[in-house]
Structure formats: structure tokens, C-alpha cells
């Protein structure tokens, strides 16, 4: 095989690999978090405390990270399109962690207020409102079985 042919084949392989990688990246979906290891394991009260004490510092630590939060269910909300949110309550009635559940979850309807649970999700930030209280929002949440 001539040197030119070898170079051509080399370039073709690189181009195909790059193309395949590009296509995979382009069509990549958000990962199902069921099998992804959490960056943080934390109790609901401790997480709320970190955000209420110093939102900036807590954002730097938790934003975009996968957090597994343990706590008591204060509310299970189903919207008119069938999507669920689970509210984990802290000691303070006006503070909570709100978990917007991934649509892949099918066992949410069985959950009830007062159940103790661990939920894993991506932290999208902190909302503090004078009237409505403060909430940490987790997206793409899944129930962590163990």
C-alpha cells in the first residue's frame, strides 16, 4: 500500500470518527438519572440551610450538580398534563425542596404525604419569595431506591 493511500485511509478514519462523535453529541438526550451517581447526598434541612444562609455560595456548590436529597414528603402535585412534582419539606413550613419528576417515573402516584424518601435530581437553583417562601428546585428527578 502506497504512503498516499495510507494517509488517505488515516484521514478517512479520523473524519468518520469525528462525524460519528458530532452526530452522537448533536442527538444526545438528557441522561436518565436513575443510574447516575449523585454528586451530593444530603438531608432536606441541611440543603435548605445552605441556600438560606448563603445563596451565592450554595449556587456555586450545587448548581447543575446531581443531588440526592432525603426527607419527608410534604406534597405530591400532579399538573393537568400529568407531570408530577414532589415537595420535600423542611422544619420551616415556608421552605422546601421541589422535585420536578422525570416523566419516566411510573410509581409516583403511590407516594403519600409523610413518606420518607430519597430523590435524586439536577439542581436548577433557588427561588425566594416574600409571600410564597423559599424553594430549591430539582429537575429530572428520580426516586432513589437505595
Amino acid at each position: 500500500m502506497g504512503i498516499k493511500k495510507k494517509i488517505f485511509i488515516g484521514f478517512a478514519i479520523i473524519a468518520m470518527t469525528a462525524g460519528l462523535y458530532g452526530y452522537q453529541e448533536y442527538t444526545r438526550k438528557n441522561e436518565n438519572l436513575s443510574h447516575v451517581k449523585a454528586n451530593f447526598q444530603i438531608q432536606v434541612n441541611a440543603l435548605i440551610k445552605e441556600f438560606e444562609e448563603n445563596e451565592k455560595k450554595a449556587n456555586e456548590k450545587f448548581l447543575d450538580k446531581i443531588i440526592a436529597v432525603s426527607g419527608t414528603i410534604r406534597d405530591v402535585i400532579k399538573d393537568d398534563k400529568g407531570y408530577y412534582s414532589i415537595v420535600l419539606g423542611g422544619d420551616n413550613k415556608m421552605s422546601s425542596v421541589r422535585c420536578s419528576m422525570d416523566s419516566i417515573q411510573d410509581d409516583i402516584a403511590l407516594l403519600k404525604q409523610g413518606n420518607i424518601i430519597r430523590i435524586k435530581g439536577v439542581c436548577t437553583g433557588f427561588n425566594a419569595d416574600e409571600l410564597l417562601g423559599s424553594d430549591i428546585i430539582l429537575n429530572r428527578c428520580v426516586i432513589q431506591k437505595k
Binding site: 438528557n30 398534563k81 407531570y83 437553583g125
Partner: protein, 187 residues
Amino acid sequence: MKKISLILFLIFGTGIFLRAQDKFYTKTGTIFFKCTKSPLEKIEATNRSATCVLDTKTGSLQFAILVKGFEFERALMQEHFNENYMESGKFPRSEFKGQILNNNEINYTKDGIYKTTVKGRLQIHGETKDVETIGTLTLKEGKIIASSGFDILLSDYNIRIPSIVSDKIANKVNITIDCDLELFKGK
């Protein structure tokens, strides 16, 4: 003494009660947007954690969302949206504060569908602009469904579209709001 306490309760206690009765809210409102230019590429996302407060007495209406709460079908698009366009690390929230202009035409004690005109200030990407739009309030069994759809221009909010993708991303973004509001029962 008891009489005075009772009078004070009637004056202040019921006042607080009535004020709470005027407000409706949600923390699970849906905000959807699309800015698709090319039919081959779907550029749209949904945020299901919008907070909304409506004061039925004054017609004051507020929305707030965390920008990172928008979910796209494709992960790469979501990353670009947050990092390159909305700069959500720098501008984490978007909010609207406004007023229902025809609030006195809405009978909040009677179920029905009421058309509304809403005017206020919309803050996106650190820029605030006046917006006016029409929407509906659907009153049903003690709950209120607030919905609206309107267009904004990305250029109004200092969001730049690189020329390399300008054939795919439209400058005009269509936003749809859908919030199921329930009575705020106080702290």
C-alpha cells in the same frame, strides 16, 4: 377586655384573612417557548417550575422562573441555551411583574372564561422591557387557570444569535404560559 380583643380581631384578623383570600398562586406553572426557524430542527423547551401570584383584588400579576429549569429534548441544545444564549449562571432568573388592565371586568366569584389584557415589565437576560399581551383566566371550582401566548424578540433582550446558526434560530420567540392557580391560604 374580651370585647376589645374581639373588636381588634375583627378589624385586623379578618383583614388579614380577606387579603389572603384575594391571592392565588402556583409553584408549578408551565412556560413553553419555541424559536424554530427551520422545520428540520425543533428548538423548544419547557419549564414546569414557574411561580405565579395573582392578586384578584388589584389585578397584580407576577411570574418568576429559574432559567436553568428549561428542559430541551436534546442535551446539547440545553447546554448551549444556558451557556451561550441566556448565560443562566450570570442571569439565573427571569420574571414578569404586571397588571391585568381589565381586572374590574372579571367576576372572581363566578365560574367562566374571562379575556384579559396584561401589561407589565418582562425581565430576561438582565434586560427589562415593557410587554402587553392578551390572555385568559378560566375560573372553575375555586381555582383559576391563567394562560397566555405572546412573542418577544431575542434582540430586545440582548441575546445574540451567531450568524452560523441564524438560519435555524428565529429572532422571534413564541412563549406560552399555562398556570393552575390555587387560593393562597397564608403562611
